[in-house]
């Protein structure tokens, strides 16, 4: 249940090719996150899998069965939309029961499943309310409830947390991960937020302009980005990328070094610079260090108790074993 294979799937709107032919396999029970900047085609890819858009060519298989021309309802997939897409004229109970009603289940079976889903999602007290009377997080849960009652082969999430405030977002992230642990159902999750991708995914698919840049576990992507784009996209704060002389010294076109792999020191080191903005997070401090001849500041992680101030002179020493080297095409060496 829930193995999805994309075979040379291509999508074009008119003359514009949004997704060039693309192969991808999503294993049963996996939590896969599609991540990429806005307009990279990740939502389109999800809609292709859902059947809300037709593929221009190629084949989508769900559990080995060709689903390319199946209507969305027949694919046994459930989707949670960015706007939640709740039905405002129905109570929460009716919202959750809607897919069951459409499937022709009798009233008793509907009630049982709705009660079950509501208790899993802490919605029991809100069943008779309308979506308009719920908070953002509760609406989100109703949307998830509507998805789980169908017992689908896979869940599709289209940026489900982007309408929530920061604190709720962290909470819902945990709840969705928790849900995945419990249901063991395949989940495909689209987001532009790499933190969500890193924290939730079993497998991350990084997309840029419809192309898959890299597929792998969060730590694989973090430790060994295949190219400059992935290196810059995954990780927060971003990896420092350096071109030119310093890179040439290390036989590369571009080198990358993560903020935590640079040792700052007040008196000696490889690079000399001045401290710019310092972000104190308590446990860590991130310094933005301006090096001569570089426009973008270098981001450096230090402990929480470092006393360096704006304008201070500082020396940086990269951990040479943790350097990422990329060639002129931006590929990893």
């Amino acid at each position: 249940m829930g193995r999805i294979t994309l075979d040379k799937v291509r999508k074009a709107f008119g003359d514009v090719e949004v997704i060039p032919p693309l192969d991808l396999t999503i294993e049963e029970g996996e939590f896969v996150v599609f991540v990429g900047p806005s307009g990279c085609g990740k939502s389109t890819l999800l809609r292709l899998i859902a059947g809300l858009e037709d593929v221009s060519s190629g084949e989508i298989r769900i559990d080995g069965q060709n689903a390319t021309d199946l209507p969305p309802a027949k694919r046994r997939l459930a989707m949670v939309f960015q706007s939640y897409a709740l039905y405002p004229h129905m109570t929460v109970r009716k919202n959750i029961a809607f897919p069951l009603k459409m499937a022709g289940l009798d009233q008793a079976a509907q009630d049982k499943k709705v009660e079950g889903a509501a208790s899993v999602l802490n919605l029991t007290d809100y069943l008779e309310r309308r979506p308009g009377q719920l908070s953002g997080g509760q609406r989100q849960r109703v949307a998830i409830g509507r998805a789980i009652v169908r017992e689908p082969a896979a869940f599709l999430f289209d940026e489900p947390l982007s309408n929530l405030d920061a604190a709720l977002r962290v909470g819902m992230r945990m709840e969705i991960s928790e849900l995945h642990e419990r249901l063991k159902t395949t989940m495909i999750y689209v987001t532009h937020d790499q933190v969500e991708a890193m924290t939730m995914a079993d497998k991350i698919v990084v997309l840029r302009a419809g192309n898959i840049e890299q597929v792998g576990s969060p730590l694989e992507l973090y430790r060994a980005p295949r190219n400059v784009f992935v290196a810059g996209f995954i990780g927060s704060p971003k990896m420092n990328l350096i071109d030119g002389e310093e890179a040439a010294k290390r036989n590369a076109h571009t080198i990358g070094i993560r903020p935590e792999h640079i040792t700052p020191s007040p008196d000696a080191g490889t690079w000399e610079g001045t401290v710019g903005v310092a972000e104190h997070l308590g446990s860590d401090t991130f310094f933005h260090v301006h090096l001569p001849g570089r426009e973008e500041p270098m981001t450096v992680r230090a402990g929480g108790e470092v006393s360096l101030h704006h304008g201070d002179k500082i020396f940086l020493t990269p951990d040479e074993t943790q350097l990422h080297r990329f060639d002129a095409q931006g590929l990893r060496i």
């Binding site: 859902a50 059947g51 809300l52 209507p71 969305p72 309802a73 997939l77 459930a78 989707m79 939309f81 960015q82 706007s83 897409a85 709740l86 039905y87 004229h89 809607f98 897919p99 459409m102 499937a103 509507r146 169908r150």
Partner: protein, 290 residues
């Protein structure tokens, strides 16, 4: 506008328009009420004595009155059913992306800009005329006898003409409502296994309910007073077959020159319209504040 002073100033400033509006409404209403209690016939000039409820009992016991009430209701309900159902279907059609959408939309809305008298005359002479009308030619082409619309089905013909005029209004309101329907909601319903008909029934129709309420309310107000279409086509006939309340009041005061009875009929019409309005507000008004 919080202080006592500014509130008083505000009242002072809106008073001219309020007084004007009140006068506009109250003076004709008062005169109509006054006339309705007089024996006032233009064919018999002279004294206009006070006759109490005589005009009312005369108007209400007139067999034409009952026919007029039935016709008025048939006309209103008939046009409402046709325009709401037709308007919903047309709105769905026009909501689809298609080539030449802008022009098609303007064409659909065009009938609303044609004056009632003109459109009724066009229908009467160019379409429904049993000798020269397009429908007659069509019937002859098919080998059928031409149908004399205004003689055989006068009220239905008028319902047809009025519906044609009001269909664009309903379509326009429902189309704008349709466009505010979130497409993700329809997609969610599609993923939930709802076919096109279920989507229409469970998603589109509830979404349109408020707009449909508005259409029904506004149209009822105007449809209760349909007049021009009747005047230029059937003159309320044959017999009373297409006389509605408005036309009956006109006939009393300006064909029989009985101003007193006409005024009484006018007052009756006001009362009936208010009864209908109260019922409508009760029935569907609650749809509006949800």
């Amino acid at each position: 506008m919080a202080t006592q002073h500014s509130r008083a100033a505000a009242r002072l400033m809106i008073s001219p328009s309020v007084i004007l509006l009140l006068g506009w409404m109250l003076i004709p209403l008062g005169l109509t009420l006054y006339f309705s209690f007089l024996r006032y016939n233009l064919l018999m000039p002279g004294a206009n004595p006070f006759v109490g409820w005589e005009n009312y009992s005369y108007f209400l016991s007139d067999p034409a009155f009952k026919a007029a009430i039935v016709n008025t209701l048939l006309l209103v309900v008939g046009v409402l059913v046709i325009t709401v159902v037709g308007g919903t279907l047309l709105a769905i059609l026009l909501d689809q992306a298609m080539w030449g959408q802008g022009i098609v939309r303007i064409l659909v809305i065009a009938p609303f800009f044609v004056m009632p008298t003109v459109s009724a005359l066009v229908w009467k002479n160019m379409f429904m005329n049993p000798v020269n009308g397009l429908f007659a030619h069509l019937a002859k082409f098919l080998g059928l006898p031409p149908f004399d619309f205004f003689a055989a089905a006068p009220l239905a013909s008028i319902i047809g003409i009025v519906s044609w005029q009001w269909l664009p209004f309903a379509t326009l309101i429902l189309l704008t409502a349709m466009q505010s329907l979130d497409s993700e909601r329809l997609e969610a319903a599609e993923m939930d296994g709802a076919g096109p008909l279920s989507r229409f029934w469970y998603m589109v129709l509830p979404h349109l309910s408020r707009a449909i309420t508005v259409v029904i309310l506004i149209q009822t107000i105007f449809l209760l007073s349909v007049f021009a279409e009747i005047l230029v086509t059937t003159n309320g006939g044959p017999g009373n077959a297409s006389t509605n309340l408005t036309y009956l009041v006109y006939a009393e005061s300006l064909l029989r020159f009985d101003v007193g009875t006409g005024s009484a009929g006018g007052v009756v019409a006001i009362i009936l319209a208010n009864i209908v309005a109260i019922f409508l507000m009760r029935m569907i008004g609650k749809n509006l504040d949800a």
